[in-house]
Symmetry: C2
Subunit: 318 residues, 2 copies
């Protein structure tokens, strides 16, 4: 039995043919081109699925899962709101159900990524976990008793928008001092740029030819490896912001493990070591040194494999 998982992102549409073990057999990536509107994007998603079906000649495809950014009404199959796509109240699911002969289901992309990690990644065998995505934004999927937990109005797990700095930076969510403003990729870059503008000496200045816009979290990572003190400071601060935020999350949800994925997590031990330290420092004694924070295993594949996992769950196979 085979499944297709589609991960719709602001930049790319990633699709994959996945087997029952969560292994990718075949995959495609195309640009999203969200500015061309939902019809165009959904048309492209369908075409990618057809491509995978055609290339899988003979293999039995039994279900399709979609991971969609933003607020998703899984019962109505609607995208209620997706800021990075410019979508609002778009009926998504019916368009796929009319096109394909197999069952199609959808959920929020961060939640499907959490499912991917739970069933085929770093969370195998664990029934209570939080899976954080650290990228352009910061989101999370909560798995309780083995199942996705969505909350009363589908907003559970909004770790990116908890107040981490009182009277801090204004966020476009309406709150201020949000974790996302400090520890997402743009937040980290912004803090780095601010330090450089203030006059700190750093190897990064030459690495980016003096052009602050060229700084990425990869620049920081490389500078850290060269022993750069400013890079160490910024990553340490990032770990502290995250450590406080994740300790808060853990005190409320009390998961068995916290899994971290997304682009920023690729910093690896440079980030995870101080993060675990700050997390434990900001935890009650009875929780300290008991909750591991571990990197996601599926990396860039968590989206498509997670969407395929959703299809498996929908069919009662997982």
């Amino acid at each position: 039995m085979y499944f297709i998982g589609v991960d719709l992102g602001g930049t790319n549409i990633a699709s994959a043919l996945v087997n029952e073990k969560g292994e990718i057999i075949n995959s495609t990536v195309i640009p999203t081109e969200a500015q061309k509107g939902p019809e165009y994007v959904i048309g492209n998603m369908k075409r990618e699925i057809h491509k995978l079906i055609n290339n899988a000649a003979g293999s039995k495809i039994v279900g399709i899962g979609l991971g969609i950014p933003g607020l998703v009404d899984i019962d109505k199959g609607m995208s209620l709101f997706a800021g990075n796509l410019g979508w609002q109240n778009i009926p998504v699911l019916e368009q796929f159900q009319n096109e394909f002969d197999v069952p199609v289901c959808m959920d929020n992309d961060v939640r499907t990524a959490a499912l991917g990690e739970k069933h085929f990644g770093a969370g195998v065998g664990i029934d209570n976990l939080i899976c954080i995505t650290l990228g352009t934004g910061i989101g999370s999927g909560i798995i309780l008793d083995g199942k996705i937990y969505r909350g009363h109005s589908l907003s559970a797990g909004e770790i990116g928008h908890i107040t981490i700095v009182k009277d801090g930076l204004y966020c476009n969510c309406g709150n201020r001092g949000c974790l996302e403003m400090y520890a997402s990729a743009p937040g980290i870059v912004r803090r780095t740029q601010k330090y450089i503008l203030e006059g700190h000496n750093t190897v990064m200045t030459s690495m980016i030819d003096g052009d602050l816009d060229k700084i990425t979290t990869k620049t920081l990572s490389q500078a850290w490896e060269k022993g750069d003190e400013l890079a160490q400071l910024v990553i340490d601060e990032t770990a502290e912001f995250l450590g406080i935020g994740l300790a808060t999350f853990a005190h409320l949800i009390n998961p068995e493990v916290i899994i971290i994925g997304g682009g920023v997590s690729l910093m690896g031990d440079k980030l995870f070591n101080p993060l675990q330290k700050y997390f434990d420092e900001h935890s009650m004694r009875i929780l300290r040194n008991k909750l591991p924070i571990i990197p996601a295993k599926l990396k860039s594949e968590s989206g498509t494999v997670g969407a395929a996992a959703l299809a498996m769950i929908n069919l009662g196979i997982l």
Copy 2:
């Protein structure tokens, strides 16, 4: 059918005979005297239950529920740790099961209080809610899909120990800057005392005959009613600490309602009005003005009625 609910606290043991509608028919309160040890306390609890049974002559008592402070292992019927009682690994449940002919069950007291509010108080008809207890400490019971959520190691809902002030006051939980250090009754009193010691002019000084140890949250409440500016400042600050903490809780759990009980909640609108304001200010726009923070309805009875509700659930009646 009748039930008995026992609420074991650091100060008192409250017991009640409760009918199926959650109404108290008869009740008793005796001092806990925890310093005399667990055997003595458990003996007293049994005696109170026998008293209620004897006084209920003819009424059919079908179940007993116990609300116990601290960490409770509901499967083993053990009190794993209760700081205010000095208990550690005390087998509680078997002692009651050997004594009474009807089923006995137990859970953490904050969780049973949440059950009380869910079934017979401010949360009737609501399946996803958080019930906060603001008293000597700050705890919470989380109800998801109508059931108590306990977390992986029974520590879910530890809102009192999330970091609300970075590098803030040391807490005996091992963390620092915990919400409980600022917004529990002792935290509020401590902040008031500090302001008075700094020299602020306030009607409270005469209300307490200059003895700072006499200040309680009731003093503050009365001073507020007299238009005292320091009392207003302290209550406003309390609301801000709580507003940030509860907004964080809501962003992660996304409940339908937040219920607040415990001694501090008796301040009423003086606290709830600014609390709702700060909560909304620290929320994402899509959550703002949608989540009501309401006072507990059962007040001092939530413990016993909640323990009785636990007994009803245990018997499949609720």
